[in-house]
Amino acid sequence: MKLIIAYVRPEKLRDVKTSLSKVEVFRMSIDNVRTTGDEPAVRESYRGADVYVDTHARVKFEIAVNDEFVDRAVNAIIDAGRTGIDGDGHILVVPIERSIRIRDGAEAGEAIA
């Protein structure tokens, strides 16, 4: 089992979700974060002083999947989340040792799509 962590552009949130559901990945957690990367800082101006904001709003997905789902999930994210411009984001795959469903305490494979 793997935990897929993906940072994508906020405006791609729905597309990525739809794209994932097409490859039958339905369970995930979403959060909004701020990230830094290659994308240039944006100038904000407030009361005559400029501030260069070098963090950008991104949406973070956390998706726990069985190993055989990793590739298609990753591809689904790339397909839907790519614009080709700096700042499209990143996908990380982290190992999961156990996975337990709270509702019934069921472990591992059977608990995860």
Binding site: E11, R14, N32, R34, E44, S45, Y46, V59
Partner: protein, 472 residues
């Protein structure tokens, strides 16, 4: 707002402004101290207080519009509403007032007012006395100027979240400086609509519909916000609501608008006249007291109409609809607030409340994307309210007003007013918007729209520090 046409003889001025109060009559021609009665002081004061109340409606609009749109466009909306007050007042000073109230100095008689720049009272002091009207020249100017600014501000909600700031300000300037005063002059300036017997007490048509037509034109030219109308898997079009980001702001907006409407309608009596006991039915028509009642009751009925309609249609009662209902009732009663009996005010408000909900839903079906419901509230209910005068206005009262030469308000008269306004306001707005679109461009880029106009147009955020979740 049945204001004293400045070029009328002083006798009629008194007859209109102080209609029930013969004892206040002043001797025309005399200027200076002697003819400034206490009643004049009171009437003038009420017009000024009403000005302050109409002013606060601008905060109402700013709050309502920003509450019903997304957090990422809040600075932009607040900025537009702040700028429009300024633009409205200044252009009205420079050109609008004389264009709307030309007195006898029409450029084209009864159709196009005076292009004399600036506002300045007569040089014999009469502008400060009842020789001018039931109030001073300056009170007249500032009350009318605040009104003017509201017409332009109506547009801003409908075109929100996608229009470029600069072109919008250019549009507003032209619309409030030219279109609004010209149409207004036809009735309130004593032009051809006034002659035809069209009746519009405080501006269901002259203010709200004029604003509403501009909103409709803007929405058509701009097209919907990205993501509002989607094609779903089955290839069917689907409406996806873009949630407003703050219902408290929206509620503050509507309550302030209602509050301001006491001045909008109440001040349009143009005096503190408590009500004429000698009207046809001893009912107090034409007075501030009745206007307060019909205004409040129509707003209340509008809430009830919208609440139940939305409860039935949407299964759950929608706060934003109930709030729109209050405004619908207010817009609906505005044309006839001084000539309608209270029971009919209930009916007008109720229907307006029902209509606004159905209209919001209907416009969405037509892919006309109006984030705040400005077209439904101001245009649709403005038309409804204007026609309602033809249906529900008290007959005896209208006969009486006919004698005084200030309107008959039959359904036919009203329809003509509605159509004439639409026939000028809508094309004018359309042309302005199209010219801007094909020259400097009207709509922000896709990226800017997605990222929010606050960043794109202002390089600011409205809620520094708060994280706002993207549409999920």
């Amino acid at each position: 707002m049945h204001r004293c046409q400045r070029w009328l003889s002083a006798g009629l001025v008194v007859c209109v402004a102080g209609v029930a109060f013969g004892q206040d009559a002043v001797t025309a021609g005399e200027t200076g101290l002697a003819n400034v009665t206490d009643r004049f002081v009171v009437d003038n004061l009420w017009l000024l207080i009403s000005t302050a109340l109409v002013f606060i409606m601008h905060l109402g609009f700013a709050s309502l519009e920003s509450g019903l749109t997304q957090a990422k466009n809040t600075v932009n909306i607040l900025f537009k509403n702040t700028a429009i007050v300024a633009i409205g007042l200044i252009t009205y000073l420079i050109i609008g007032f004389n264009l709307m109230y030309p007195g006898e100095a029409w450029t084209v008689s009864n159709w196009l007012g005076a292009f004399s720049f600036g506002a300045s009272p007569a040089h014999d002091g009469s502008g400060m006395t009842p020789d001018y009207a039931g109030y001073t020249y300056w009170s007249d100017f500032i009350f009318q100027a605040m009104f003017a600014a509201t017409a332009a501000t109506i547009v801003s909600g409908a075109v929100a979240e996608r229009i470029k700031l600069g072109p919008f300000l250019v549009f507003s300037t032209l619309y409030v400086a030219i279109v609004y005063p010209i149409i207004g002059s036809w009735k309130w300036g004593g032009g051809w609509l006034a002659d035809r017997g069209f009746y519009d007490f405080a501006g269901s048509t002259l203010v709200h519909s004029v604003g509403g037509w501009g909103a409709l034109a803007g929405v058509i030219v701009l097209g919907p916000r990205i993501g509002k109308y989607l094609v779903n898997e089955e290839g069917k079009c689907q409406i996806r609501p873009l949630l407003g980001h703050s219902m408290p702001l929206a509620a503050i907006g509507v309550f302030l608008l209602w509050f301001g409407w006491f001045g909008f309608n109440g001040g349009s009596v143009l005096s503190a006249d408590p009500g004429d006991p000698s009207d046809g039915n001893w009912y107090g028509f034409g007075g501030v007291s009745l206007v307060f009642v019909t205004t409040s009751i129509a707003a209340a009925a509008g809430i009830i109409g919208a609440m139940f309609t939305s409860w039935i249609v949407q299964a759950k009662p929608d706060l934003s609809m109930a709030l729109n209902g209050a405004l619908a009732g207010l817009v609906g009663i505005t044309a006839g607030a001084d000539v309608i009996r209270v029971e009919w005010a209930v009916v007008i408000g109720l229907i307006a409340g029902v209509v606004v909900v159905l209209s919001v839903i209907g416009l969405d079906r037509l892919r006309l994307d109006d984030p705040v419901g400005a077209i439904s509230v101001h245009l649709v209910c403005g038309i409804w309210g204007t026609l309602a005068v033809g249906l529900f206005a008290d007959d005896a009262r209208m006969t009486q007003l006919d004698t005084e030469g200030v309107g008959v308000g039959t359904f036919g008269d009203q329809l003509i007013g509605v159509l004439a306004t639409g026939a000028v306001a809508f094309p004018a707005a359309l042309i302005f918007f199209l010219i801007l679109r094909f020259t400097v461009g009207l709509r922000v880029s896709r990226d800017e729209e997605l990222g929010g106009l606050d960043f794109g147009e202002h390089a600011m955020e409205a809620y520094g520090g708060f994280q706002v979740f993207p549409d999920h």
